[in-house]
Amino acid sequence: MDLLALRLSFVLAGLTTAALLVIGLPIAHWLSTTRWRWKVLVEATVALPLVLPPTVLGFYLLVSFGPRSPLGRAFTAATGHTLAFSFEGLLLASILYSLPFAVQPFAAALARVDRRLVEAAHGLGASPLRTFFVVSLPLALPGIVAGAVLTFAHTLGEFGVVLMVGGNVPGSTRTLSISVFDAVEQLDYATAGRTSLVLLAVSFAVLVVTYTLQHRSLLA
């Protein structure tokens, strides 16, 4: 059992989910409130990363993280190491790839929040920010949780992008999903089964806690 990989997987999934709450919610909020004519274009674009096979997306990310891209050069200049094959690069790639899993359910849930409640909050002097956090967000909670769960679970299982961008470096970019993948590739089914079971069990526990908290908050 690769404990380092287990830790890394959950850290990566947790950080990706957290980052997508921070990045995805504003995008979703914008999508659900704007009256811009062409917002369908943005909506459709958000789903596009999914359409490419993960390794292909990973390949393009690899190229744009590499030393020949401005992004890659800037990162190396700033930190001394490359963006590709680093945990930071992995995180960035995961965030990009999981964006649709977060934004789509977020936006769908926010779109169904009763406008009159938002108006009521504004009328009571609440700033747009407070209204969002105290009214829209709690009312859209099931959708937010759905998006977060999809992001989290999917990041745990993802290995195409991770493999390509991360390069399977133990302790920094070798996640549990790659371990399982490797084990299966080596026809080492016993290890694969054991690792899968751990992955499933821990994820199950995390999900049960998440859902329980969600129901509490809605019913209390």
Binding site: D114, H122, L124, G125
Partner: protein
């Protein structure tokens, strides 16, 4: 009252036009003084635009044209595209359909507008307002778990709690039972009086308008038709539309037969009536008579020049609260309201005969063109 003819004291003045896509155009112009007479009642038929006006004042809707001024602030001006967002208007709005936050407790709903106050102060204020509205035992519940009338009171509490600079109440007491309503009406009136918060209150209830309001503005057919002291508007509607809106029971077409010394003799149906001549009338008019201004007797008395006596046949008799509504045929259809005691004494029943007495001053002639 033309809002652009500005008064000396502070006022809320607006003149706005809201166009709905495949809906009507709502127009309303009004100036409300803020230094006295705190409560203005907005009266008008269903669909006349009362809610729309309140929403525009609260900043939730943007009129297509016009302006809104509150004291020396311009909240909205279509010409300069000025717009103060709702958060900065300091207005307390009670939504007609409450719009309570379903995920927050009653206490959190009421305290929502007090976010800036320290916790203890907020709690105290929430409790105070909840007590006032008799909902203090509901503070921990969610809105879905209380009754309709309780919800209305929570919504009212939520709009009162932050002590807004202007209160906009869209039918604040409509879902309450009679006794609670009467009680709260009185207390709300004294609260508004003492706090001095200027208020615009929508109601459909004449009694409520009389009990709560200082002034009455009648909104109908897309504009404010009349503004004035409540009693005055009720007893002297400026035109036919207002008469209908305030519920003048008898509005009948009248043609003027002759005029003399401030009085006019008019024909209504087959009857002839003496009425005050308001001047400026053409030959055709409407005669408006409030039902309670008609006195019923069994036999004719001494006719005077200023009093009409109409012999009539009773058509229907139906109880209405403390009174009895009697429909008469006296050459035209005349609805009257009498006390139950009078009805008993006169032995009123369909088919029986009676004499209806109407003072000339109680017959209001309004021009037919309007």
């Amino acid at each position: 009252m033309r809002p652009d003819a500005r008064r000396a004291g502070p006022s809320l003045a607006f003149d706005l036009e809201r166009h709905f896509r495949d809906g009507p155009v709502v127009r309303a112009a009004l100036e409300v003084p803020l230094d006295a007479e705190p409560v203005t009642v907005l009266f008008g038929p269903s669909g006349s635009g009362k809610t729309t006006v309140l929403r525009c004042l609260a900043g939730l809707d943007r009129p297509e044209r016009g302006f809104i001024r509150f004291r020396d602030e311009t909240w909205f001006d279509a010409a300069t595209r000025g717009f103060v967002p709702p958060q900065r208007r300091g207005v307390g709005l009670l939504f007609q359909e409450y719009a309570l936050f379903p995920h927050l407790s009653v206490a959190a709903n009421i305290g929502f507008g007090l976010a800036r106050a320290p916790r203890a102060e907020r709690n105290a204020r929430v409790l105070e307002v909840a007590r006032f509205l008799r909902i203090e035992e509901l503070l921990d519940r969610r809105p879905a778990r209380i009754s309709g009338g309780q919800r209305q009171r929570v919504a009212l509490a939520r709009s009162l709690a932050p002590r807004p600079r202007l209160l906009l109440l869209d039918e604040p007491l409509s879902a309450l039972d009679g006794p609670t309503r009467e009680e709260l009406r009185g207390e709300l009136r004294s609260l508004l009086e003492h706090s001095g918060i200027p208020s615009l209150v929508v109601t459909h209830d004449r009694v409520e308008a009389l009990a709560l309001g200082d002034r009455l503005a009648v909104l109908a057919e897309g504009s404010v038709r009349q503004v004035g002291p409540v009693h005055e508007v009720f007893s002297a509607p400026a035109d036919l539309v207002v008469a209908r809106v305030v519920g003048t029971e008898n509005v009948a077409p009248a043609s003027i037969v002759s005029r003399d010394a401030g009085l006019a003799l008019v024909r209504v149906g087959t009857a002839q009536l003496l009425a005050l001549d308001p001047g400026g009338l053409h030959d055709e008019a409407f005669a408006c008579i409030r039902a309670e201004e008609v006195v019923l007797e069994t036999a004719p008395g001494t006719p005077t020049s200023a009093r009409n006596e109409l012999t009539a046949e009773v058509r229907t008799v139906s109880p209405e609260g403390p009174l009895v509504r009697v429909t008469l045929d006296c050459g035209f259809r005349l609805v009257t309201l009498v006390t139950r005691r009078s009805a008993d004494r006169l032995a009123l029943a369909p088919g029986s005969r009676a004499v209806a007495l109407v003072k000339a001053s109680a017959i209001r002639l309004v021009p037919r063109a309007s």
